[in-house]
């Protein structure tokens, strides 16, 4: 028996000439994944979407990370006398505006006098209303590149009023900013109440002894919007121009010379009072998104939410997509998750991750709104200007439940509003260091529940993970088909098969870059101010450039003959690689944009196949695949997705055409220097065009 075994071993060696080396398990696993990439891509994409739907379940309760904040640990020192001071200011402003119609800075001087009487240092600042002028270099420059516009008339400037309370025993290195936007011309009755609240608080802060940071109260002239005066004041604070300003000639009193500063800003709070509340309590809305989806430190929101709910009895809410609350398919998901949670709780009482379906609906609606607001990259309030200077800031919008002329309820409203701000300022006043403990990358599913970056990154990773596998699989298939279809000398250049496809991908990305810059030149065309006309010009010019590209470079055109075209599998492989790179880069800049982009691009790229073989074969599976490709491509077009999202968000078209509406939306993106604009032009549109080329590929 042993001799027989020995003979068999010798026989094996003789046949092969050498012992056979088994590949390593990791290589075999890679080959296995590449060989079965369609199955894995479906599994991973479904898992990504499921993880996205599971996010409201995975939200955690907020908590205070920084121990020094201690919200609510001190008894409020605000007294009725301070509230009387605030009420007096509101009354004086109303009387003044009734008796003095017209423009001028008299109301600003009245507010400045009140600030000065309370012991603050008052300064006035004039600013230009800045137009929405698109400039390509604005995306890549900081706020230092602000330049004054020329030939601005004297009748169109605004005046900000800022009062600074110096901390009695402070060293003047840090400050806390309170901002109340106020329309000095068309301000309503509710806007006066915000001045009353902060005036009450200011009266208290000018007398307390526990301040360690200076307090700045900025009454922003919001006749040209809320954001512009705050941004102008911050620019003057951080990047002043020492040269002659044109605004000095507009006013003989020369009020622009005494701009005052108070050190590094620790935090900022913007307070607005809006219309009546729909609830039985006073409502407090928190707006936190800044430019490009940046969020303030979560501790700032936690402090305000804690003080508002547990100390002052406000009803706190954050923005949500209202149409999702009545969505039936989302309700079904909520009920399924609730049932699974109950089942898990029965199996093991420690598994307690189920939430009611109603909470799931609320969390999903809030999460969708947070995702959309972050993806837009547009600040949701004047607090966004502070984030450009790395100051944590939020906007608080208070909606009282009483009409604006009720004196008794106004007193109580002032008291609670000012005490809320006082508690927040006390907490920030306790900080020795700036906000750094809690999260900066998070999404809110309710004012007291959040999802941190470590959790919501999983959904994006699952969505994006199939892309490299599919790219490798397609490349191998493309190389095999090319090898079979050509002669043997071509095998020497096997590793360069992707170069033609890369050339086409690069050309279309360059076209995307040019299309991104086109609106700057379209805005320079005189006479064409209608958004519809501009969008038509933009679409026409882009299409012409695309056709010119196809004509001048036959290798990049899908309509050329078979002999010059590239293999569609390799083209799809390079397209998927480019989409993968673009999505990963965008996830660093603005994660919400990358998430929504992945939801659109990943199915489109994976499903893209040439339509001619499907039509020729007439098999149901191929026809269904072709139909899905067409549907996904239609949804993925930016204009179409804009229309669909408008419908989902519950807003209709406001009189403009679809193109005009889309142009206005894009204009707001570039006016706020949103990176989403660059993503749409330089990542999404080229990949969409490449999928279109694959769809109509003559193979």
């Amino acid at each position: 028996m042993a001799a027989v075994n020995r003979d068999n071993e010798e026989e094996v060696k003789t046949d092969d000439g050498s012992p056979k080396i088994k590949p390593r398990p990791i290589v075999r696993l890679g080959i296995f994944l590449i060989a079965h990439s369609p199955v894995f891509s479906v599994v991973f994409s479904a898992a990504g979407v499921l993880a996205l739907l599971l996010l409201p379940l995975l939200a955690k309760n907020t908590y205070i990370s920084e121990n020094a904040l201690m919200p609510g640990s001190a008894r409020s020192m605000l007294s009725n006398r301070d509230v009387s001071d605030g009420s007096k200011l509101v009354k004086d402003i109303k009387n003044f505006r009734l008796n003095h119609e017209g423009q001028g800075v008299e109301v600003q001087k009245l507010i400045g006098k009140y600030m000065s009487d309370m012991g603050a240092e008052v300064s006035y600042q004039k600013f230009h209303p800045e137009g929405n002028q698109f400039h390509p270099l604005h995306f890549f420059s900081g706020p230092d590149s602000y330049t004054l516009l020329e030939n601005v008339s004297c009748a169109s400037y605004g005046v900000n009023v800022a009062g600074i309370i110096r901390a009695p025993r402070g060293d003047g290195k840090e400050s806390i900013v309170l901002v109340t936007p106020y329309d000095f011309i068309n301000g309503g009755d509710y806007e006066d109440l915000s001045l009353g609240i902060v005036s009450s608080l200011f009266s208290l802060l000018s007398r307390v002894t526990w301040l360690s940071k200076d307090i700045i109260w900025l009454v922003a002239d919001s006749r040209y919007g809320d954001y512009r005066p705050v941004a102008a004041w911050l620019t003057e604070y951080h990047s002043p121009s020492f040269k002659v300003s044109d605004l000095l000639k507009c006013d003989e009193q020369n009020t622009a010379d005494n701009f005052r500063r108070a050190g590094t800003m620790a935090a900022a709070l913007v307070l607005k009072v809006d219309g009546r509340s729909e609830k039985f309590e006073d409502t407090l809305s928190i707006y936190a998104e800044a430019s490009n989806g940046q969020m303030p430190n979560l501790d700032l929101i936690n402090v305000v939410n804690y003080l508002a709910v547990h100390r002052q009895g406000f009803y706190v809410k954050v923005e949500k997509v209202v149409s999702l609350l009545s969505s039936s398919w989302l309700k079904i998901f909520g009920e399924i998750f609730e049932a699974v949670g109950k089942l898990a709780h029965m199996l093991n009482p420690d598994w307690n991750f189920g939430i009611p379906a109603a909470d799931y609906l609320e969390g999903s609606a809030t999460l969708a709104s947070s995702l959309y607001s972050q993806a837009l990259g547009i600040p949701t309030g004047p607090h966004g200007a502070f984030r450009d200077y790395q100051v944590d800031a939020i906007t608080l919008k208070v909606s009282p439940r009483f009409p604006p002329d009720s004196k008794t309820r106004q007193h109580d409203f002032f008291l609670r509003g000012a005490r809320l701000l006082e508690g927040t300022i006390r907490s920030v006043n306790n900080l020795l260091e700036k906000f750094h403990q809690s999260f900066f990358l998070y999404m809110l599913t309710s004012p007291s529940k959040f999802i941190s970056v470590g959790v919501y990154m999983i959904a994006f990773a699952l969505l994006v993970a199939p892309l490299p596998m599919v790219a490798a699989s397609l490349y191998i298939d493309g190389c095999k088909s090319l090898t079979n279809s050509t002669h043997n000398p071509t095998e020497n250049f096997k590793s360069w098969k992707w170069l033609d496809a890369a050339k086409q991908v690069f050309t279309l990305h360059l076209l995307g870059f040019i299309v991104t810059l086109l609106p700057y030149f379209i805005c320079q065309v005189p006479g064409q101010h209608s958004p519809t006309n501009r969008s038509i010009m933009w679409g026409t010019t882009s299409s012409s450039l695309l056709l010119i590209t196809f004509v001048t470079m036959p290798g990049c055109s899908p309509f050329s003959s078979r002999l010059h075209g590239t293999n569609w599998a390799i083209l799809k492989s390079v397209t998927i690689s480019a989409a993968f790179i673009g999505l990963c880069l965008m996830s660093i800049i603005n994660f919400a944009t990358a998430e929504i982009g992945a939801l659109l691009l990943v199915p489109t790229c994976l499903m893209a196949q040439p339509i001619k073989p499907a039509l020729r074969s007439r098999r149901l599976k191929s026809l269904l695949g072709a139909f899905c490709s067409i549907v996904l491509l239609t949804i993925g077009f930016p204009v179409m997705f804009f229309a669909i999202s408008k419908g989902l968000l519950g807003e209709g078209l406001v009189g403009l055409s679809l193109g005009g509406e889309f142009w206005t939306w894009l204009e707001s993106l570039w006016a706020w220097k949103s990176a989403t604009y660059l993503y749409i032009g330089m990542v999404h549109l080229p990949c969409w065009l490449l999928c279109l080329c694959i769809l109509f590929h003559p193979s």
Binding site: F32, D144, F242, K243, N258, R261
Partner: protein, 620 residues
Amino acid sequence: SKEVEEFSEALLLKPLPDRKVLAHFHFENRAPPSNSHGRHHHLFPKAISQLVQKFRVKEMELSFTQGRWNHEHWGGFDPLSSMNAKPVGVELWAVFDVPQSQVDTSWKNLTHALSGLFCASINFLESSTSYAAPTWGFGPNSDKLRYGSLPREAVCTENLTPWLKLLPCRDKDGISALMNRPSVYRGFYHSQRLHLSTVESGQEGLGSGIVLEQTLTVVLQPETTSVESNMQPSWSLSSLFGRQVVGRCVLAKSSNVYLQLEGLLGYESKNVDTEIEAHQLWKNAEFELSLKPERVIRESCSFLFIFDIDKSSDSEPFDLGLTWKRPSKWSCQQAPLHSSRFLMGSGNERGAIAILLKATESQEKLSGRDLTNGQCTIKANIFQIFPWYIKVYYHTLQIFVDQQQKTDSEVLKKINVSPSTDKVSSGMMEMMLELPCEVKSVAISIEYDKGFLHIDEYPPDANQGFDIPSALISFPDHHASLDFQEELSNSPLLSSLKEKSLVRSYTEVLLVPLTTPDFSMPYNVITITCTIFALYFGSLLNVLRRRIGEEERFLKSQAGKKTGGLKQLLSRITAKIRGRPIEAPSSSEAESSVLSSKLILKIILVAGAAAAWQYFSTDE
């Protein structure tokens, strides 16, 4: 003819225009020149004497300050402001009488001695990155001058106690009995200063005399009980400090209280003699004093009431009070240019430091005082220290005069720059600007990069930011003094106020937020790395421990017993991976499929562990 040691105490009270009261305690201790063989003191503190003798200190000033001096309301052009408005924290400068090569050694030893003497972290100024050697931009012009400041040093009662121990009567008797700690540290400004200077005797064989001047300047807010908001608040010593003076320090040569009132210009035209004037001035329609002053001295724009507390006793304590009857307003004389400093730019890499000088109302009165080449000019010295981690680019200096940019040669008369070296020395810049008298505003900006520190160089509160010490703006052609019309040689306080002192003002301390690393990152890296190594080495040891031959024999004996569908499926999958046609199952294929499934299971477990770890970790 033998000189003796002298100690005198004085308290100057001065109402301020913004309804506050300035209290300036002044103690002077003089030790005459004595034999160098030994020194025995009756009144002078021995610690200071030994300090001067051991470290050869020629002149020294040490200040502990809390709060900010308000130059607009509290004054900028009077001796009190020029000498007692100090930057926040601890400031120390000293001139030594040693050879040049030993100045730094003496400075280090002096900082350690002062650190032990005054219960403060003055020894932090020992490091060469913490002090500078100014030349002409600072007050004394000497090459043996060293300057350092600690903006972040907190000033508290523990700094006042050793300061009081240097006084002969401590805080038990005399004027220093008024120093109630809660009252002193509740004020808006608190600065205790110690000035030390030596006086050469001029005789052979005798050492130098020492003059020790200790001052405490506080700005207090009296309690407001008046209904009218624009009325000045009335106060008394007991209401301000919570204590009274029940007698003078018996060791003091003179013990006086002075009350200085500004803005009483209506009485300038009166031409009455001293006795009648004094009788009328302390009780009039505007205010009333609770005690009759000994004397009243006129100054160019103020009145000085002098009180002697020698007559007070336990039964009749000295409790000076001021009661206002009518609202009164006046303004302080200010420096020629009001200075402020701030940071420009945002982000974590680059920024700029800007100094803004603006003309004040007092500037017009000083026009025409100085003529250079037929033109009226104002000279301003600017002295700044930059820490080494603030990399200042001195070539980016820009100067704007009245919002027009000027070249450096137009307005910059002198400049002395000492660049900083990483971890070795701090940077220093001294500039002298020559500006026209009618100037309205001057802006100076200089750019810097924010550096990176090693992880062990960060302080415990790294996220707070880093401090840049205050800049000093001085005007060499302007001097502040009180112009008394009578000779007063018996009071050291009035003598010091009468001397001409340089007009100086300190700017704000700047807080620069540097980039801070994630201090929990080393822990995260160590944890992940150890986990990966544990998994890798565990798998490696398992592979090395296994015996292939025994496994093959075991599987061969079991081969005939398992012929289920699962085995066939695994065989097909394995064959598909290898790209070979489907064969009959064999031992080696079964073995590799077992290995493959185990490996997949391990990967899933590791991924699950990583996901759980990511979910439950809260350090973001």
